[in-house]
C-alpha cells in the first residue's frame, strides 16, 4: 500500500478513506487494512502534509486517527497531535462532520479526538441528532472528557469483554451486539461476547458525573467494559458524537480484522464463524457502508 500518495481524483469520493499518520503513530497500517478489507480505497497521509493542505480532507468519505504514541506522548497521550489537529485541521474536520463523514479515533486517536474538540461533540447537543442539525462551533471547544492513567498506574495489554449498547446511534458498532434484540441477522461473535484487544497506559475514561450521565443516557457510550480493568467512569470504553458518526474508543478493532486473532481461536468452533467478518472488521464495514450506502451489497458479499 503506497504511503504518501494523495488521491489523484479531485472530486469527493464517498468510498475513499483517509488514515492520518504522524510521528509515533504506529497502528496506521492495520487501520488502513481495515478500511481496505471493507472495500474502501485508502490513503495514509502525514499530518504535516494535511496541515499544509487542509483542503485534502475534503476528498475523503471516511477518516481515521490510528493508535500509537504520537510525538512520544511525552507531555500527555495525544496532546501534541491533538494540538496540531485543533490548530490546523479543525475547520476541515468540522466541515467533514457536517457532511456526515464517519470518523474514528482508536486508542491514541481517541485521545486525540477528545482533545481536539471532536468528541463527544459540541456541548448542548448531547442528544441524538442528524449531522446537519448539529451546530459545530467555529473554534474547537476545550476538552469535556479525558483519558487518564489506568487505575493500576501502568500500561496494560490484554483482551477485554465488552457490552454493546444496541440503542446507540453509533454507526460503527451496528450489529455488533451478540445479544442485540433488534437484530436477527447473524451472531457477530459465536463466543456470545464481543471481545477486543486493548493496549494502553492512559485509557481510564474520566469526566464530571453530569457528563457521564448524559453520555450514557443519550446512547453516546456505545461500548462499555465488562471487565473494567482500567477503572473507567461508567466503564466507558468508547464514545460517539450525537450523530453516531464520530467514534472514539480505547480498544483496537483494527487488531481484530481476522478471526485467527481471537484470543481463544484454538478453542472456537470454526464452522460458526465461517463467512462472518471478524467483529473488528465489521466496524470498518459499517463505516464504509454508512459513507457509501450504495456499496452495501458489494461489501456484504465480499
Amino acid at each position: 500500500m503506497p504511503m504518501e500518495r494523495p488521491a489523484p481524483a479531485i472530486h469527493w469520493d464517498m468510498a475513499r478513506a483517509l488514515v492520518v499518520r504522524a510521528a509515533g503513530i504506529n497502528c496506521d497500517e492495520e487501520m488502513a487494512r481495515g478500511f481496505a478489507l471493507a472495500g474502501a480505497a485508502v490513503d495514509r497521509l502525514h499530518v504535516r502534509t494535511l496541515a499544509n493542505n487542509p483542503e485534502l480532507l475534503d476528498r475523503y468519505g471516511v477518516i481515521g486517527f490510528p493508535g500509537g504514541f504520537s510525538y512520544g506522548d511525552d507531555v500527555a497521550s495525544g496532546r501534541v497531535l491533538a494540538l496540531l489537529v485543533r490548530e490546523k485541521l479543525y475547520p476541515a474536520l468540522r466541515a467533514a462532520a457536517r457532511r456526515g463523514v464517519p470518523m474514528i479515533g482508536i486508542c491514541n486517536g481517541f485521545q486525540v479526538l477528545t482533545q481536539a474538540g471532536l468528541l463527544p461533540g459540541p456541548r448542548g447537543f448531547w442528544s441524538r441528532k442528524a449531522p446537519d442539525t448539529i451546530d459545530w462551533p467555529a473554534h474547537p471547544e476545550p476538552p469535556a472528557v479525558a483519558l487518564c492513567d489506568n487505575a493500576a498506574g501502568r500500561y496494560a495489554d490484554r483482551w477485554v469483554r465488552l457490552a454493546v449498547n444496541p440503542d446507540s446511534p453509533c454507526v460503527w458498532t451496528r450489529d455488533l451486539d451478540p445479544h442485540d434484540p433488534h437484530d436477527d441477522h447473524t451472531p457477530t461473535d459465536p463466543t456470545g461476547t464481543l471481545m477486543l484487544p486493548v493496549g494502553h497506559g492512559e485509557g481510564r475514561f474520566f469526566a464530571p458525573k453530569a457528563t457521564i450521565d448524559a453520555l450514557l443516557k443519550n446512547g453516546q457510550a456505545p461500548l462499555t467494559y465488562l471487565d473494567n480493568f482500567n477503572g473507567s467512569a461508567g466503564a466507558i470504553a468508547g464514545i460517539c458524537d450525537p450523530t453516531g458518526r464520530i467514534f472514539g474508543l480505547m480498544p483496537h478493532p483494527d487488531r481484530f480484522l481476522h478471526w485467527s486473532r481471537h484470543p481463544h481461536y484454538t478453542r472456537l468452533d470454526k464452522r460458526s464463524i465461517q463467512g462472518e467478518p471478524a467483529p473488528g472488521l465489521r466496524m470498518f464495514i459499517n463505516a464504509v457502508e454508512a459513507a457509501a450506502p450504495s456499496r452495501l451489497g458489494s461489501t456484504r458479499a465480499g
Binding site: 510521528a23 504514541f69 510525538y71 477485554v160 471487565d227 486473532r261
Partner: protein, 933 residues
C-alpha cells in the same frame, strides 16, 4: 507509595508533578498559550508554577547531555504551535510528606533517580540557563606508541579504555613502526572499536587448545577444524567457524535450501514464502543495563531493532523478544555498586516496554531466570524479527555513493560503549563508564523507520544501495563496515551535533542512539531529502564511499585527522590460541539438581515449585508489553479462556504471528534457556546445556504448530570472564554442543552474539561470576495458522499423554525424532493442546495446562494416574499433549517414542494426584502471586 512501604519508609503522602523548563524569547501570551494548550489538560490537571506544598520537595532532572525525549517533543510542539524555537528540559517533582530530608533523599536514591543519568535537587530547580556546551577548538592529537615497551602498551590500552590485548597492541605498534609515524587518536580509537570483543567476537573466533578428562564425553575425532594430539588434548581452529557456523554450512551442503543470508549481515534471514524472508537478531545489553537498567534495556532493544532495519536493503521489524537473567527479587545483601535486582527487573521491563511499545512492534516472546550470581551482571537479551522482501536481501555500497546519516544527532553519550561492553564491571564502574550509558528516544527511531521504508518502497527501486545501523562503535563501525571493500572518506564536521564541544574523535566513536547510515547515489539525494523532511527526520551528508586505495580517510574541516587501510582495520587483528580445560566436578548428572524438597508431599512440592520465581507466571511483565500491535498476533504470550479478571492467563510455549495477513502462513517465535544443566559449579556440563537449550527451543516452537524442519536458531553466549582456561573450557564445550545440537535437529544457526566479561568485582575484592549462560532463540515456519495449538487444557474427558523422548537425550537419539512426531500429530489435528515439560517437571507442566484452561465458570480438572516417572524430574524431550481418548493410539503410532497416558481431564476444577487434591484456582494463585508486582 507501595514501593516505599516495601522498603520500610513511612511515607504519609506523595504527589508528583511534571516540571517543564522552557528557555526562549517568549511573550507572556505565548507562554500562556503553551501552558494552556500544550502542557495542561483542563479536565484533570492543574497548573502549578510555584511550590506551595508542605513537606519535602525533590526534583529529578536529567544531567546535561542526557537524552530528554519529552523535551524534544515540547520543542517540536511549541514550534508547530507558535513557530518559535525554544529550548526545553523536563523533570519530575515529588512532594513527599512524612519523611525528613535525609530520609527523602535516601528514598529517592533507592527509587526515584539514578545518578548516572539524573540529578536530584532538594528545592525547585530554576537554572539561569540550560546547558549548551562550549565550542570545540580543533586540536589534532597523536599518540606515541611506536617506542613503548610491553608495559607501556598495556598501560595505554588500559588507561585509554581501549581494552586491547598485548598481542593486539603489538600488532598496532608494528603497523605504525612500518609507517614511520605515530597513530592519531582517532586511528587508534577506530582500531579499538573495530577490534573490540563486541564487534568481532575475537574470543569465539580464536584457536583453542583444549584439554579434557580421559573419558571425555565429547568425541573429538573427525570434527571440523579439530586436530587431536597424542596426549589426548585437541586444537580447534577458529572455534566459532568450526562449531556454530560449521553446522549451518554443513546443513546447507546437505540440502537445507531455505536459509537466505547467514552470519554476514546485521541479522540472519530465512525464507518465509516465495515473496518474503524473515530475519532475526538477538543482542545483549548487559553492561549498560547493570548501571542504568531502564536506559540500558531500552537502548538494547532499540539497537537490535536497528539491526533488523539495517539488514539487506532494510527489513520491517515485526516482533521483539526479551529474556532477562537477574538475581532473586528477595535478595537482601546487595554489594556496593549494584542495583537491587527487584529495581533492576522493574526498570529493564519498563525500558523494553517504553521502547518496543512506542516503536509499534509487538514484544512476543521471552523468559526470566533468577540466580544470585547475576547480582552484578544482570543479563538483558533483546531480540527483533523482521520481514524482508526476498529481492531486497542484498545491498552493497557503490563507489561514489554518498554516506548519509539519518536520525538522531550525535552527542557525547555512549562513548566507549563497544569497549566498555568488553570490560569487567566493578563497584566503581558507574563513575567510570557513566558516559557509555544512554537513554533512548523511540519516536526518533520510529520516524527513521518510517522514512526508510518509504525510501525503500515508493519507487521502483530503493533510493539507496546499502544500509546499516550505528551500533557499537557508532559511525566508526557502521561506515567502516560498509566501506570495507571500497574505502570511505568522511567529513566529520558535517555530523549534526546535540551540543557544541565534541572532538572529531568523539563524533567518530559516539554511540548516540537512533542513527542509521545509508549509501545513497548522488542522483537520489533530493528524493531522499524530500521524504526525510516530510517525516521530520534529519539527514546529513558525511562524505562518500570509494577511495583510491580502499583507505578510510577521516577529515575535520580542512584537516585530515586519520588515514587507515581498510585491510588493516578489518584484517589486522592477530588471532590467538587460547588454553581451555574441562575438568567436570562430578560425573555428568542425569537430571538437573533442583527437584525441590523431597520431605514434602507431592501437593506441597507442586505448590512450592509453582511459586518459584523462575516458574511463576510472568504476566506482570507480559501485560506491560504490547503484543497485539500490527494486528498479526495469532498465538499470544498468554493463552486460554478469560480467567477471573477476563483475561487469558496460561503460559504460551511460543508465539505465532501471521506477518503477511491473509496468507495463512505464520512464524513461531520461542527460546530455550537451560543454564542449570550447564552450571559447572553444580556438576553441570555446558555441552549438555547447549543440547538441552536447543531441544527446549524446538519443543516450544513445535508445541504451537511450527514445522520442525523449518526452524532457524540463534546463539547468545553470556560468559563470566574468559581469562581462565576453565571458563574457556566451558565455552568450547557449549560451542561444540551448539554444533551437535544444530546438526541433529537440523536447525541452522543464522546469527548470534556473545557477551563475555560478565563478572563483578566487589569493593572487598571478591569476584562474582555469572554462570555460563546460553540463550537459544528460534523462529519456525507455521504452514497453516489454522492448525496452531495452545497449551490451555480444552475438554473434559480427554487424555493427557506424556510423550517421553528423554531416554538417551545426551546422545541426541530421540529429540529430533520426537519433535517431528509431535509435529505430525499436531498437523493431523489430533492434538487439542500441547505443552513442553521444562522447569519443574511433568506435574508443573500439567498444572500450567489446567491453570490456562480452567475458569470459574467452566472448570477443568484432572486425575493423575499411571505416571511412571518422577513428577518433578526435569529432563529434555518431554511433551504433554491433550488428545481424545479414542485417538491416543494414533498419536502413539505417529510419535514413535514412548507415550503414556498420565492423566484424564474432567470438569472438577481440581487436580488429583494420589491422595492429594488441589483446587486449580489455588494452583493459579500460587503460580501468579510471586511476580504479581
Amino acid at each position: 507509595m507501595r514501593e516505599a512501604a516495601e522498603l520500610g519508609y513511612n511515607l504519609v503522602s506523595a504527589s508528583t508533578a511534571k516540571v517543564y523548563l522552557l528557555e526562549g524569547d517568549l511573550t507572556n501570551e505565548q507562554r500562556d498559550a503553551i501552558t494552556s494548550a500544550l502542557l495542561v489538560n483542563p479536565v484533570t490537571e492543574t497548573l502549578a508554577t510555584t511550590n506551595g506544598v508542605p513537606g519535602v520537595t525533590l526534583e529529578v532532572h536529567p544531567l546535561p547531555g542526557v537524552m530528554d525525549p519529552a523535551a524534544q517533543s515540547v520543542q517540536e510542539a511549541v514550534y508547530e504551535l507558535l513557530g518559535v524555537h525554544v529550548q526545553a528540559s523536563t523533570g519530575t517533582r515529588y512532594d513527599l510528606q512524612g519523611l525528613d530530608e535525609v530520609a527523602a533523599k535516601a528514598l529517592a536514591a533507592r527509587l526515584l533517580y539514578n545518578p548516572v543519568v539524573q540529578a536530584l535537587h532538594t528545592e525547585p530547580f530554576h537554572p539561569d540557563a540550560l546547558p549548551y556546551g562550549t565550542p570545540y577548538q580543533f586540536k589534532p592529537i597523536s599518540v606515541d606508541i611506536t617506542t613503548l615497551d610491553d608495559a607501556g602498551l598495556e598501560r595505554l590500552s588500559r588507561e585509554g579504555h581501549l581494552f586491547l590485548s598485548l598481542g593486539e597492541m603489538r600488532a598496532i605498534q608494528r603497523h605504525y613502526q612500518s609507517l614511520h609515524r605515530e597513530p592519531t587518536d582517532i586511528e587508534l580509537e577506530t582500531l579499538a572499536q573495530t577490534w573490540s570483543e563486541h564487534c568481532v567476537h575475537k574470543t569465539l573466533k580464536s584457536d583453542y587448545h583444549y584439554t579434557g578428562p580421559k573419558d571425555d564425553t565429547i568425541r573429538w575425532q573427525g570434527r571440523p577444524g579439530v586436530t587431536v594430539h597424542g596426549d589426548g588434548s585437541v586444537t580447534i581452529a577458529n572455534l566459532l567457524k568450526h562449531t556454530v557456523a560449521a553446522a549451518t554450512h554443513e546443513l546447507i551442503a546437505e540440502g537445507i535450501d531455505w536459509t537466505l543470508s547467514v552470519f554476514h549481515d546485521n541479522s540472519g534471514v530465512i525464507a518465509f514464502d516465495d515473496d518474503y524472508g524473515v530475519c532475526i537478531k538477538v543482542e545483549t545489553h548487559n553492561h549498560p543495563s547493570a548501571i542504568e537498567p531502564y536506559g540500558g534495556a531500552a537502548t538494547g532493544i532499540g539497537g537490535c531493532i536497528r539491526d533488523i532495519i539495517g539488514t539487506g536493503l532494510a527489513a520491517k521489524p515485526i516482533a521483539n523478544t526479551d529474556v532477562f537473567c537477574v538475581a532473586p527479587p528477595d535478595t537482601r545483601d546487595v554489594p556496593a555498586g549494584c542495583i537491587h535486582p527487584k529495581r533492576v527487573l522493574r526498570e529493564i521491563v519498563a525500558g523494553v516496554r517504553d521502547y518496543g511499545n512506542r516503536m509499534g512492534i509487538p514484544t512476543l516472546s521471552g523468559a526470566v531466570d533468577f540466580d544470585p550470581r547475576y547480582i552484578g551482571n544482570p543479563l538483558v537479551f533483546a531480540g527483533c524479527i523482521g520481514l524482508i522482501p526476498r529481492d531486497k536481501i542484498d545491498g552493497a555500497a557503490k563507489p561514489g555513493d554518498r554516506i548519509i546519516a539519518l536520525g538522531g544527532r550525535t552527542g557525547r553519550d555512549g562513548i566507549h560503549g563497544a569497549t566498555f561492553s568488553s570490560a569487567e564491571l566493578s563497584d566503581t564502574h558507574a563513575d567510570e563508564f557513566g558516559h557509555a550509558v544512554q537513554i533512548g528516544n523511540a519516536i526518533e527511531e520510529k520516524k527513521v523507520l518510517d522514512a526508510i521504508l518509504r525510501a525503500r518502497d515508493e519507487g521502483e527501486r530503493p533510493l539507496y544501495s546499502a544500509i546499516t545501523d550505528c551500533g557499537a562503535g557508532g559511525f566508526s563501525s557502521a561506515i567502516g563496515e560498509m566501506g570495507e571493500k571500497l574505502g570511505a572518506q568522511v567529513q566529520l564536521d558535517r555530523a549534526p551535533l546535540k551540543y557544541a564541544g565534541l572532538t572529531y574523535t568523539e563524533i567518530w566513536i559516539s554511540e548516540a542512539q537512533e542513527r542509521m547510515i545509508l549509501a545513497v547515489p548522488e542522483q537520489n539525494l533530493a528524493a531522499m531529502q524530500a521524504i526525510c523532511e516530510e517525516e521530520g527526520v534529519e539527514l546529513a551528508d558525511l562524505g562518500h564511499f570509494g577511495t583510491p586505495n580502499a583507505e578510510l580517510i577521516l577529515r575535520y574541516g580542512e584537516h585530515e585527522v586519520g588515514r587507515l587501510p581498510m585491510d588493516f582495520v578489518h584484517g589486522g587483528i592477530p588471532r590467538e590460541t587460547l588454553p581451555a580445560v574441562w575438568s567436570p566436578k562430578s560425573p555428568s548428572p542425569r537430571r538437573s539438581p533442583r527437584s525441590g524438597d523431597r520431605e514434602q508431599d507431592v501437593s506441597a512440592r507442586l505448590l512450592s515449585l509453582l511459586s518459584r520465581p523462575d516458574i511463576a507466571s510472568k504476566h506482570w511483565i507480559i501485560r506491560q508489553y504490547d503484543h497485539e500491535v500490527q494486528g498479526n498476533t495469532v498465538v499470544k504470550p498468554l493463552v486460554g479462556p478469560p480467567a477471573e479478571d477476563g483475561a487469558s492467563r496460561g503460559p504460551g510455549d511460543a508465539s505465532v504471528i501471521e506477518p503477511v495477513p491473509g496468507t495463512g502462513r505464520g512464524v513461531a517465535i520461542g527460546c530455550g534457556l537451560q543454564t542449570r544443566v550447564g552450571d559447572p559449579d553444580r556438576g553441570g556440563d555446558p555441552y549438555l546445556m547447549a543440547l538441552a537449550a536447543i531441544d527446549e527451543c524446538v519443543r516450544n516452537l513445535v508445541c504451537v504448530g511450527a514445522d520442525p524442519s523449518r526452524i532457524a536458531i540463534l546463539d547468545n553466549f553470556c560468559w563470566p570472564g574468559v581469562k581462565d582456561a576453565a571458563s574457556l573450557g566451558h565455552l568450547v564445550r557449549a560451542a561444540v554442543g551448539c554444533y551437535d545440537g544444530a546438526k541433529a535437529y537440523r536447525t541452522p544457526f543464522v546469527s548470534g552474539k556473545d557477551s563475555l566479561n560478565n563478572q563483578f568485582r566487589t569493593d572487598d575484592g571478591t569476584t562474582i561470576r555469572i554462570p555460563p549462560t546460553l540463550l537459544i532463540t528460534g523462529i519456525g515456519i507455521v504452514h497453516d495458522i489454522e492448525k496452531c495449538v495452545t497449551s490451555d487444557a480444552k475438554t473434559p474427558g480427554n487424555a493427557i499423554v506424556l510423550v517421553d523422548g528423554s531416554a538417551g537425550w545426551e546422545r541426541l537419539e530421540n529429540g529430533p525424532k520426537t519433535a517431528a512426531g509431535v509435529a505430525r500429530a499436531i498437523g493431523d489435528g489430533l492434538v487439542r493442546s500441547a505443552h513442553d515439560v521444562s522447569d519443574g517437571g511433568v506435574l508443573v507442566a500439567l498444572a500450567e495446562m489446567l491453570i490456562a484452561g480452567s475458569t470459574p465458570s467452566a472448570p477443568i480438572g484432572a486425575v493423575v494416574g499411571g505416571l511412571a516417572v518422577d513428577p518433578f524430574e526435569e529432563l529434555p524431550t518431554r511433551y504433554l499433549l491433550e488428545v481424545r481418548v479414542s485417538e491416543v493410539d494414533r498419536v502413539r503410532a505417529l510419535v514413535g517414542v514412548p507415550c503414556s497416558v498420565i492423566a484424564t481431564l474432567d470438569d472438577s476444577g481440581v487436580l488429583r494426584v494420589g491422595d492429594g487434591t488441589l483446587d486449580v484456582e489455588d494452583l493459579a494463585r500460587a503460580w501468579r502471586g510471586p511476580l504479581d508486582w
